[in-house]
Structures are given as C-alpha cells and as structure tokens.
C-alpha cells in the first residue's frame, strides 16, 4: 500500500485528485453477515459491489443493519461471515488503519482537547508524516472546507455545521480510498442539514472518490446517492439508482419507504386477465394497464390474483376518474396542495399542483380521482413483491435489483 507521503509526492497537492484518479477504490461485500454474541443477526448476507468513485447510500429504518454494515467495512465490527474486498484486497482481518479508509461519525467524534488543526493533523502525525507536509495538507483541506479561520479553535467553540466540516476535513486529509459516513447530518437542524447536503454534493464532485454513506433520511439518500441500498431487518431489499428505487420498487417496503409523502396503498385490489389483456380492479374502477405492463406481466406468466395497488401522491389527478374520496385535511403549501382524503377504508394522500386545481378540495368535499395506468404499482398480496419489477434471481442472490426488460 502506498503511504500518504508517497501519494503526496505524486504531483498534485497532497496526492489529491491526480493520485486518486489513478487509484482504484472498489469495495466488494460478499455475503457479509454480522452475528452478535447473543446470537442476534444484525446483517444477513449482504452482497454489494461498489464501483470506483461511486457514491453509495445505505438507507433504512433504525435497526436495519446499515450502520453495522458500514462499521464492518470500517473494521470497527468483526465480520461474522463473508468477505470484504477493498481495492481487490481481502480486508476481513486487516486493521482499520491499514484499510485506507476514513470515516465521518454521527457524533463528529472530534477530540475535544485538540484544536481543529490538531484534530485534522492527528492521523498524519501518527503516521509520522513530516510536519511541513502535514501543515500543507491541513491548510489545503481547511481552505477547501472554508474552515481556515477556525484552525486554532477547539471543537466546543464551533457550531454544529462547523464541527461537521472539521470531521469531514479530518477524513479528507488522510486522502482515503473510501470515505465512510455514518449519518453525518443527523445531528444538525433541518436548515443546516440542507446546506450541508449541498456541501457534500460539491465536496464529492471535488474530491471524486468512493463514498459509502449511511442515513435513515430518504431525501439525503435520493439526493446524494449514485445508487441506494435499501435495508430492512438486516436484509438488503433493493439496490438501485434513485430513479429506479422511486419508479421501480421491488416490494411494498421499498415502495413505502422511498417517496414523500409515502405511496398510497389500496388493499383488496385485483389483477384481472381477460381476453389476453391485464386490468387492475380498484374498488369499482377497472383500469386497463399500460402496454409495457401488459408485456412484462405476460413475460412473467402472471396469473390473475389479489394484489395491493400503490399510487404515489404526486401521480394522482383530481376531478376525473371513477375513484371517489372525501377530503379530510387540506394543506396548502403554495405551489402545491397536499390533500388527505378517505376512500372507503383507505387513507389517500394527493399532492396536486395548485395551478391544476379545478375542483373544490375544501374539507368535506367529495372528489373523483385517478392516475395514469403506467404509474400504478402492483404488489402480490401474499409476498408483497412487485409483479412487474421484482427480480427473483437477484433477490435469491441477496443483491436484489429491479427486473430489466428488453422491450
């Protein structure tokens, strides 16, 4: 492994972009499993190939195993089963410091007795990098993160956002192959979180290395990730680009987890197959499916069955269609209005652009609503799997992705 000074000697300041451009930093998780002493399995058989310079986001509810997976990659948790490769090297038994990774923690984990400068320089000092080079590297990174004026301060004299920058800076000075970030924005207030999210996007463009980012916030996941890994109960539910996981959720959990407001689910629906054509029956509305869905369902030899239909709030239009709902709450947000309505037993949320409003949507009003057939997601009632997008082969390999079709 090249040392920091070696990398720094390669030309660009601190061995930065130029050195990284040559360095491959792929991460491969093969059947990674974490079983704790009490026999509790936190992570089941995670398979994930992270490409060089890819920004991958692990997202899921609390306790889904995303942080444990990250910590196994970092070397802070022992790997119970499976193999971890970083840059083609088996790293199961490699010390964390020798994995050429850096991590940003949720709590920032800045050494409180050290100044910002010392915090950032600490790892390099331990590696016995010459003082002049440490100084150059720290100041360079501080300039990138706009924290130069805080270098002599201690962490307690900084705001949350400034601390977060220092934590990122501490990771950056190490010039790692892989950046690991464990919910780095969750201690910040909403406004600062949005700012820092944008900063991380800019940072990523600037330092261009491989990122593994853990969050429970789907907005962060959608905006930051090249690909998103959605986890639940220690299992990976879907791996895909933000567009894929939004438009092509492989199961009910992914469909419900991604998207804000959450997808509307209609129970007791039916998939009908009549005269070589598929329809969905939602209440009294019988909707003929789109051509693409017809082909996909036919390719899957999908028989008629009971299903759960999912429609995103943004995909609903009011004032037309056979479905009926009564408005219970009307939230005017300016450019759009969120309508919370009841349709028989189901609660329905609709997000309607204000300019498209042509009917009365005041509290207690009854409105007709519908959606485009191609935007209806159909889930098997028994398994919860998406009838169109669930891919059994990848799911059996514990690396579930949405199914791809040739047509």
């Amino acid at each position: 492994m090249r040392s920091i000074p070696e990398r720094m000697a390669r030309g660009s300041p601190g061995g930065g972009p130029a050195a990284r451009a040559n360095a491959m930093s792929e991460v491969l998780l093969k059947g990674l499993k974490k079983v704790y002493d009490g026999g509790v399995t936190a992570v089941h058989d995670v398979n994930l190939a992270i490409k060089d310079k890819e920004f991958i986001v692990l997202v899921g509810p609390s306790g889904c195993g995303k942080s444990t997976t990250l910590r196994m990659v970092a070397g802070l948790e022992e790997i119970s089963e499976g193999e971890l490769y970083i840059d083609g090297r088996l790293c199961n038994n490699v010390e964390p410091k020798d994995r050429d990774i850096a991590m940003v923690f949720q709590s920032y984990a800045l050494y409180p007795h050290m100044t910002v400068y010392d915090n950032m320089a600490f790892a390099l000092k331990l590696k016995k990098v010459p003082k002049a080079e440490i100084d150059k590297k720290v100041k360079e990174v501080a300039a990138i993160l706009d924290i130069t004026q805080y270098l002599n301060r201690k962490p307690k004299a900084l705001s949350g956002g400034q601390r977060q920058r220092v934590a990122i800076g501490r990771a950056m000075v190490r010039d790692p192959k892989v950046f690991l970030m464990d919910e780095p924005l969750s201690n910040l207030d909403a406004k600062l979180r949005n700012q820092m999210r944008a900063e991380i996007i800019k940072l990523r463009q600037r330092i261009n290395t491989t990122f593994m980012y853990v969050t429970h916030d789907q907005t962060e996941a959608m905006t930051l990730g090249d690909r998103i890994v959605i986890m639940k109960d220690g299992f990976v539910n879907q791996i895909g680009t933000p567009v894929e996981v939004f438009d092509k959720p492989v199961n009910l959990f992914v469909a419900g987890f991604i998207g804000m407001p959450v997808m509307n689910f209609f129970d007791n629906c039916k998939l009908l197959y009549e005269n070589d054509t598929y329809y969905v029956q939602i209440r009294n509305a019988k909707i003929k499916l789109d051509d693409f869905q017809q082909k996909a369902l036919k390719q899957n030899n999908q028989p008629a069955c009971d299903i759960v239909c999912g429609i995103r709030p943004q995909h609903i239009s009011v004032g037309e269609g056979d479905l009926v709902a009564t408005i219970e709450v009307n939230e005017m947000l300016g450019s759009e209005v969120n309508l919370h309505a009841r349709s028989d037993a189901d609660e329905v949320v609709m997000v309607i652009p204000t300019v498209d409003l042509t009917v009365d949507v005041s509290q207690g009003a009854t409105v007709n609503f519908t959606t485009q057939p191609k935007l209806i997601q159909m889930f098997d009632k028994a398994t919860g799997n998406n009838l169109v997008w669930y891919d059994a082969d990848s799911a059996n390999a514990n690396a579930p992705v949405c199914k791809s079709y040739d047509f």
């Binding site: 070397g75 410091k97 990774i101 949720q106 050494y111 007795h113 600490f122 790892a123 190490r174």
Partner: protein, 323 residues
C-alpha cells in the same frame, strides 16, 4: 404619595433589567421543594462543620477543661499558643515528618489510581476488568486497626517477612523499631488499601468517554496506548485537576490514627506527626487543649493556603478549578 406607595409595593415585573422583590419571593416559592430537600444536608454541614469553628477561639485563650469559651473569666492570650508552638523544639521535626510523609504519599498515591483506572478501562475483557477492580477495591474496607495488625503479621519480628529472612539464613529485623521502615510501610500500605477505591472516580469519568472518539482514533491509526494518552487521559483531566486541587488542599491533613498505631519508641523520630502531637497534647496526660487547638488551627491554615495556591494555579494554567 400614591406613586411612592406604588414603588414600594412588591411587583413581579422586571424593572431596569432587575427583578423586584416579588420576583424573588416567587422564585423562592418555586424552588421551595428543592430547598427543603437541601435542608438536611445544610443542617448537618452547619452542625458538624461550621458550629465547631466556634471552639477555635480557645487557641487564643489560656483555656483549661471546664472553662467557658466566652465568659467573664475568659483569659485571652492572643497568639501566645502559636508562638509557643513555633518555638517548640518539636516544631521543625513535626513539620518535616508530616510534610515528608504527606508529600511522598501524594507522589506515589496520586497517579496510581489514574494509572489503574486507565489500565482497567483499556482491558479488552470487561468481565476481567470488573473482577480486578473488585479485588483492588476490597482492601479499602479493612479497618485501620486490622490493617496495622496485618502489617505486624507481615513485618513484625516474628512475622512472615522475617520468617522468610530467617529461613534463608538472614537476621531478623524489627521493622517497627526501624525509622527507615516507617515511611515505606505507612505509605505503601495506605496506597495498597486505597488505590482501588480512589480509582473508582476516574473509572466513572472514563465510562463517559464517547466511544466514537476511540473508534475515530482507531481509524486514525492510534495504538491502544496512544488511545489512552490521546483520548482517555484528556477526557479525565478535568477530574484529575479537581482531585489534584483537593489532594493538595488536604496534603498536610494526615490523620493521627494509623501513625499512632504504628508508632514505637524506635520510630518516634519519624512517626511523630502534627496530628499525633495534637492528639497527645490535647487528650493525653495533662491535657492542654488550647495549645493543641492552636497547632491544629495552624495545620488547617497551611491546608487552606495550599488549596488556594493549587486552585489559582490550576485556574491559570488549565480551565479547571474548584472555585
């Protein structure tokens, strides 16, 4: 007149940035439950720590047992008792013995619990650490008399150590009669008895260290020892500062019991301390309580001066101080 009356009435409205009397009463009423909970502690401290200070007055009197402290026949002598002590032939030996015993005990005894706490905290096996901690803490509960009894069993003329020496052909040594043996026996046994107990406070402080700091240090490439130095030690430094100030403040406040129990004619030259001398002057033979009180008061003044010096120094060079 009406305006004057209005001004003197207690109204709970801030006026010119200050809260008027009504606000204070309201705050007092609001804090009533907490003040009531504090009351027993305040009473105990007042009764046993502040009220007896009244007795210090006898240091400035020609006081005999049975005399009133303040009464028509009180005979004030000013600083005579203090001057008598300063000119006493025992003054310098007492000062030297007390100071040496305390400073040596402090040099060995102060860092030991810190080292033990850091070591126990760094142990991987938490179960093992707890067992060791329990073993280290247990001697604290041995009474002083039993402790000195144990020392006699080990180091007495016919104790274990002498039996071993005799067994290998050496001459028995009466350690309790040797001046050179008193301080090592006193200091080492005291530290053996108390280092585990004293370590508890540091172990508690270490338990509050953010595990993320250790993980960050691991990723930064710090070894276990470097983590102790760069993460654990700085984390307990505020506690170390407070304990240091308190230890320096009580440096000369060594008790008389153990020294008295270990005292023999042979080691009297080093085992006679201010505390044992106060005991002997004030409670044995023909008691001279005024003189004993003056010596005790002088000792306390030294402790207060040391406390202030330590606190001021700590405040100047670090961010930690008692007051």
């Amino acid at each position: 007149m009406a305006n004057n009356k209005g001004a003197s009435t207690a109204v709970a409205v801030p006026k010119n940035g200050k809260t008027v009397a009504g606000g204070k009463w309201r705050r007092l009423r609001q804090n009533c439950p907490w003040l009531l909970m504090l009351l027993p502690a305040v009473l105990v401290v007042f009764l046993f720590n502040y009220l007896p200070i009244y007795g210090v007055l006898i240091a400035f009197q020609d006081f005999m047992p049975g005399d009133q402290i303040i009464g028509p026949y009180t005979h004030w002598v000013g600083f005579d008792n203090f001057i008598r002590f300063f000119t006493d032939v025992q003054f310098w030996p007492l000062m030297k013995n007390t100071f040496l015993l305390c400073i040596l005990g402090f040099i060995i005894g102060f860092p030991l619990p810190i080292i033990i706490a850091l070591s126990l905290n760094a142990l991987k096996g938490k179960r093992t650490a707890k067992v060791i901690q329990t073993i280290f803490t247990a001697p604290h509960f041995i009474s002083l008399v039993v402790m000195v009894g144990m020392l006699t069993l080990f180091f007495g003329r016919y104790g274990l150590v002498n039996n071993i020496i005799a067994g290998i052909g050496g001459d028995r040594v009466s350690y309790f009669l040797e001046e050179g043996a008193f301080r090592p026996m006193y200091i080492l046994s005291s530290n053996w008895q108390d280092f585990g107990w004293s370590a508890i406070i540091y172990i508690a402080a270490l338990s509050n260290v953010d595990p993320g700091l250790h993980e960050a240090a691991i990723l930064d490439g710090a070894s276990r020892f470097q983590r102790v130095i760069h993460v654990d030690l700085p984390a307990i430094m505020p506690m170390v500062s407070v304990m240091l100030i308190m230890s320096i403040g009580g440096l000369m406040g060594v008790g008389y019991e153990k020294a008295l129990l270990m005292q023999t004619d042979g080691n009297l030259g080093v085992s006679e301390l201010i505390a044992t001398y106060v005991y002997k002057q004030g409670l044995t033979g023909v008691p001279d309580q005024a003189y004993a009180t003056a010596i005790g008061l002088f000792n306390s003044v030294i402790n207060v001066v040391l406390l202030i010096i330590a606190n001021t120094t700590s405040k100047k060079f670090s961010e930690n101080s008692l007051f």
